[in-house]
Each structure stands twice: as C-alpha cells, then as structure tokens.
C-alpha cells in the first residue's frame, strides 16, 4: 500500500510541473516566426479570404490566451489537439510514432546495460590493470563523442564501405504484410535468406528489424554504455572495499561469490538511478539518431512539427515527452524500494 500511495502522491505532484511545461511550450511555439496557414498553402499566392477561413477553422484568429484555454479544455478531455501538417489528430500521430522511439531507446539500453555492467565489473576487479585502462579509454571516447557523429561514422563504415548493415529504411515488427505491399520487394522481406534458408514473412520482418536496429542502437547506446560502465566500476570498487565484503572474505566466501553476490547487488543501486536519468536524456538523443537513420519516431515527429509551425503537434508531443519523463523518474524511485531494503515509502507520503 505504501508504494501505491507514494505513486499517487508523486503523480499529483507532477500535475503543476506539466501545467508549467504546457504554458512554456505554448508560448515558445507561438513566438516562432511565420504562421502555419501560409506554410499549409505553401508557395501559392495566398488568397486572403482562404487564409482567413482557414484561420477561423483552426481557431488561429482567436487571442493567445483564449487559444491556450481552449487547448487545455481539450487536453482535459483527452484531446491532444489536431495536427495541421498531417491533417490528423495529434494522438494518432503519437500512437503511431511512440512505439518506434520506445523500440529504439529500449534496444539501445539493453545494449548499454548488457555491455556496461560486465565491463564495469571486470574493470573494478582488475583495477589499474590494462583491462581497466582500456575500459577507461572506451568510456572516455563514449562520453565525449556526440551520438550523431558516431551514427554517421557507423553508416560510413558498416553501410557504405562494408555494406553489411542498412543505414535507413527501418521496418517495424508490429507491421503486417499489408503495410509493405508496395515496397515488399524493395526491402526483401519475405525472401530474406539466412544460411540458405528463406525465412517466413514474419521471421523475415523480425530479422530485418534487428538488422536495421543495430547501427542506431550502437549510436544511441554508446554514451549510456560509457556512463553506466564508469558508475558500475566505481560502485563496484567501493563495495569491494566495504567492510561487509571483507567480512565475507574473512568467513571463507570465495572471490567469485563475492563478485557475483556480496559486492554486486549493493553496487547496482546507483546504476538504477543513472539508468532512470539516462532514459530521459536518451529520448532527446533519439531525436538526433532518428534523423540520422531516417527513422520515423517521436523525434522526427517533433522536428517536423517545429519546422512546419504545427503548434498543436509541438505541444502534444512535448507534453507527451514531459509525461514520459515524469513517469520515468517515478519508476526509478519506486524500483529503489524493491532493490534497496533501506528505502521504504511506508511512513512518508
């Protein structure tokens, strides 16, 4: 019950944050130069009557505060607004794009965590030895290289020079043959061959998705791998020198078990924090990576919205990111209570 109450409490706390976010985004979006209707009508000599009619249709002729209030009323009813550029409800676009970004971020975190934790442990075990220095260099490169640059380099090497992996044309595992009826042959799904065996359509789709994900995953995950690895290393070194680990040694516990159990579990606590925080920055990173690899996720949606002065789409997507961010932080907090017995939400809240 404690955790449930705490969660509700944190969600209520998030409301004013989201309100502030909506005000700021609304003002920023509306202070951009240009107006969406003339972008809609493109280069054509616009007819003033048509412009006025369109503005009236989308409520753009109303004063700013009125438009804000209207938007918020819609939002309270679960309406994220209407995209002028796509001519579709914002929610539809978000529902279409969000899984793509989640897939990308999730895959890069699986990569980051799966590599960073063992490497961090090895570095801690062999402190100040060659493998530790090597991991330090990798981490330094990882944190100081921009992810889009890594992405471009990966494309140059693996896509163009070696021709091993695709650089664009992402496919999505939740799609059906219908979604690809026009480009099926181009992507080669349905005739994908692995080891001389032609994969069935669905397996081919999964295989292609995985192939397409490799480079963006590396590009987005490297930074997080580097930071998680460094934290894991220092956290592990700290717990390896802790009294309770010394005590375990003095009671005849083997080094292997100390590495896997006694020192390991405690040192995962800061990792949870850093993963929680990094997940949210990864959303920002995904914007760039999606652009580099031409992946139609939330990041590209936001960029398109901004470029086309699609106010409601900008607002909707930004608010959505805000919600994801807040939920991420809350999940991090709550997961603490599960892995660290010292943290309890029973009394407070």
């Amino acid at each position: 019950m404690g955790i449930l109450r705490y969660t509700v409490y944190r969600l209520i706390q998030a409301v004013p944050v989201l309100f502030g976010l909506s005000v700021i985004t609304f003002l920023l979006a509306n202070s951009m130069p240009g107006d969406p209707v003339s972008i809609m009508l493109a280069e054509t000599e616009s007819d003033p009557e048509l412009v006025a009619a369109l503005e009236a249709q989308y409520g753009l002729d109303r004063p700013l505060h009125e438009r804000y209030v209207n938007y918020m009323i819609g939002l309270a009813q679960g309406d994220l607004g209407y995209s002028l550029y796509y001519n579709e409800p914002v929610l539809t676009k978000v529902a279409e794009r969000l899984p793509v970004t989640i897939m990308l971020v999730a895959s890069s975190f699986v990569f980051a965590i799966a590599t960073a934790i063992p490497l961090g442990v090895i570095a801690a075990k062999n402190r100040n030895q060659p493998s530790d220095h090597a991991s330090r260099i990798v981490a330094l490169i990882g944190v100081s290289t921009p992810s889009f640059w890594i992405g471009l380099m990966l494309i140059i090497i693996f896509a163009y020079q070696l021709g091993l992996l695709p650089s664009s044309g992402m496919v999505y595992p939740w799609h059906s043959p219908d979604d690809y009826r026009f480009i099926d042959s181009y992507l080669g799904i349905g005739s994908t061959q692995v080891g001389g065996i032609t994969l069935p359509w669905l397996e081919g789709l999964y295989y292609e998705t995985a192939r397409h994900l490799i480079l963006p995953t590396l590009a987005l995950g490297t930074l997080h791998m580097a930071t998680i690895m460094r934290i894991e290393r220092s956290s592990m070194i700290e717990s390896l020198h802790a009294d309770y680990v010394q005590l375990a040694r003095a009671y005849g516990v083997s080094e292997r078990k100390i590495m896997r159990k006694h020192a390991f579990r405690v040192s995962q606590l800061p990792i949870v924090t850093i993963i929680g925080l990094n997940l949210t920055t990864a959303l920002g990173g995904a914007v760039l990576i999606e652009e580099v690899f031409a992946i139609n996720g939330m990041g590209r949606l936001i960029i398109t919205a901004i470029q086309n002065l699609d106010y409601q789409l900008v607002l909707g997507t930004t608010l959505f990111f805000g919600v994801v961010f807040i939920i991420g932080v809350i999940i991090t907090d709550i997961s603490y209570a599960y892995i660290d017995p010292r943290v309890s939400y029973e009394e407070d809240s």
């Binding site: 009294d243 003095a250 009671y251 005849g252 579990r265 892995i339 017995p341």
Partner: protein, 366 residues
C-alpha cells in the same frame, strides 16, 4: 594454561609497497594465544594492529604483503618462509589461499570488525547472512543452519530472534548489530575469534554490555580471542594478557595485572596516563604528545624516542632488544626499552623531543 598455544606469531613482517616507499606496517612482531585466553593487542591508530590481524587471516590488501615471519595455527602453517638463494620463498607446508579460505577462515578463525554499521551487507537480511556463513563453515543442512542461527541470536541477547531473523541490518541499532556479528562469529564455532576494535564505534553503555556478553560467552564456549583495541580501559576489563604495539613493533607484553602495575615501557606508561583510572586521582590526564611517525622511515634507535618523556641520547642510536624483564606466575613480562639494558642509559643526556617541548606547535593525541 599449560597447553600448547593455538596461535603463534613469530617475527611477522608485513609491508606495503607504495609509491612513496616501503611502509613497514608490521615489523617483526611475535606473540601467541593459548586456548581460552583473551589476548590484547593495544596501540594508537597506525601502530599496525589491524595489519597484524589481517596478516593472521592472510587477508592483507594490495599493495601490502607478508614478507617474513611465521604464523602457526594449531598444526597449520598459515605463514612460513624458507631461504632459496637470496630470496625468502613460501615453504611447501604453508597453506594455499584456497586452503586458507576453506580450512581456516570462518571455521577456525573468525573475525569481528570495528564498525557494526558497515560490517553487515545492507541488502540481505541478517538471517540470510548468518545462515550463509554457517552453511559455509559447518556441516549443517539449511534447516539446521537456520535453527542454529536463531539459537545464536538468542544467545547473544537479541530479543525475539525468530522475528528478527528476517530483518535487514538497518532495522538494528549499532549495539544489536555488533551482537549479530558476535553471533555470526560464534555460530561458525571457531577456536579463535579476532575482535578488531569491536566496541570502538559503540557508546560506553553499549560497550559495557558487549564486553560483559563476550566474557560470558567466552567462558561458555571456551573460545580464544585476539582483542585489538586502543582503549586501555577495555584491556583492563577483558584481557588476560596484553601486547602493546608501537609503530609496527610490540614494545611490551605481559599479563594484564603486570602491565598495569609493573609497567616497564614508557609508551605503555604514557598510554595508561592518558586514560582516567579509578585507582588514581590526578588533576589532569597526560596525553601522549606528538604524532606517530611514518612507518616508511621509522626513527633510528628506539622508535618511540621522538615522543618518549624518558628519551636520552643513547635512545636515538641504539635499537633496544625485546627481551624478558621479569616472570610473573609463569608468564614472561617482555619489553624493549634501553632503561632495562646495560648500554649506558643512566649516563646519557636527556634529549629535546616532542614530549618535552610543551604543547606549543605539537599535535595532541588522545
């Protein structure tokens, strides 16, 4: 006590190889522990007490290394060297690290650390930790290990041990955690428990309770203790025999009564003068002036001459021999001080050192 000692340490040397130089943390100490005895190892911070105990367990951290001496536990050679050409190499009968781990640590020699707040793993219940060590060091199945753990918790005075078994360390007070650690040590049924300042982190009332508990349990189980402390009060309370360490060396060794009433070494004397004693009324406690010198470059002659109130010229030149001064009730009383040697101490000039300089410009210790 006519038995053989269970632990014999002879001329043990443990050094740390740092960038600044070789730190001779333990520099040729010898002592022994007989069955059922509580032997004290006393000295200021930095004297090498903890390094000495980790050497016994063979758990000296890098860059530290045992470079010489012999440690014998019952008939096992924990540390033993032989000469091979110019070098000292471990003898064949010296236990390997794996043998140390499986045959000695925990089941023969257990340890209790200074800080009960840090000695238990925060993410496992105390029951889990107790059970793990019992399973590792005794031939019991899981159910029996759990029962044994609960019995030991009751034995050390944890109320409602069945319920507390599943509690995490943070749900215990410092004194209670130290009781848990004592239960842990006893539950593995070792013959020797090394207690590394186990009451230093506790407040005085709790310290008193823990010392009482240890005395009771020691009588009940007959376990020997090597008790490391800097507190002469604790020594008086609990120890049978005492070794006083200064800068990596043992400077005096005697039974507790001899040490308190027939003190032979000025350092021991200084330690005793720096604590309040119920049998002496004094205006002010006398601290030991100055700080302990670095063990990288220990002072020449007697290592204590820089802070010794009785230091004379000769003390800076001649290294005192650690030798038997008297015997009391069959136990030797050893000390290393030139006062007891025929090297012209009486005719030598007193020297100017930290002890005589007054308090100005010197750091006061304790």
């Amino acid at each position: 006590m006519t038995d053989e000692p269970i632990l014999t340490v002879e001329n043990l040397k443990t050094q740390f190889f740092t960038e600044q130089g070789v730190v001779r943390a333990v520099d040729g100490i010898s002592f022994d522990v007989y069955p059922g005895e509580i032997v004290g190892l006393v000295g200021e911070s930095g004297a090498g007490k903890s390094v000495a105990t980790s050497s016994v367990m063979r758990l000296v951290d890098n860059p530290g290394e045992i470079v010489g001496g012999e440690i014998t536990y019952k008939n096992k050679t924990l540390v033993g060297f032989e000469r091979a050409g110019d070098e000292l190499v471990p003898r064949d009968e010296m236990l390997t690290n794996e043998e140390m781990r499986t045959q000695v640590r925990g089941n023969e020699i257990a340890i209790i650390f200074q800080d009960p707040m840090e000695s238990l793993n925060p993410v496992y219940t105390i029951g889990h930790q107790l059970k793990e060590f019992i399973l590792l060091n005794r031939e019991l199945d899981k159910k029996a290990a759990r029962e044994e753990a609960i019995t030991m918790l009751r034995e050390v005075g944890i109320p409602e041990p069945e319920e507390r078994f599943d509690d995490y360390p943070h749900e215990f007070s410092g004194g209670m955690r130290q009781r848990v650690l004592i239960a842990m040590a006893l539950a593995c049924q070792p013959e020797l428990i090394i207690a590394d300042e186990p009451t230093t982190a506790l407040d005085v009332t709790v310290e008193g309770q823990i010392l009482e508990l240890v005395k009771e349990l020691q009588e009940e189980y007959g376990t020997s203790f090597l008790w490391v402390t800097h507190d002469m009060g604790v020594v008086a309370e609990i120890c049978d025999r005492v070794n006083v360490m200064y800068l990596g060396e043992i400077v005096e060794q005697a039974t507790v009564d001899e040490l308190f009433y027939e003190t032979q070494h000025p350092y021991t004397n200084a330690l005793l003068n720096s604590i309040p004693r119920p049998d002496q009324t004094i205006e002010e406690l006398v601290p030991i002036k100055g700080v302990m010198p670095e063990a990288i470059n220990p002072p020449s002659g007697c290592r204590f001459h820089t802070r010794c109130p009785d230091a004379r010229e000769v003390c800076t030149e001649i290294e005192p021999t650690y030798s038997e001064i008297t015997t009391y009730d069959g136990w030797p009383h050893n000390a290393s001080c030139l006062k007891h040697e025929d090297v012209g101490y009486d005719v030598s000039e007193p020297i100017e050192n930290e002890a005589r300089k007054g308090t100005e410009g010197t750091e006061v210790v304790q």
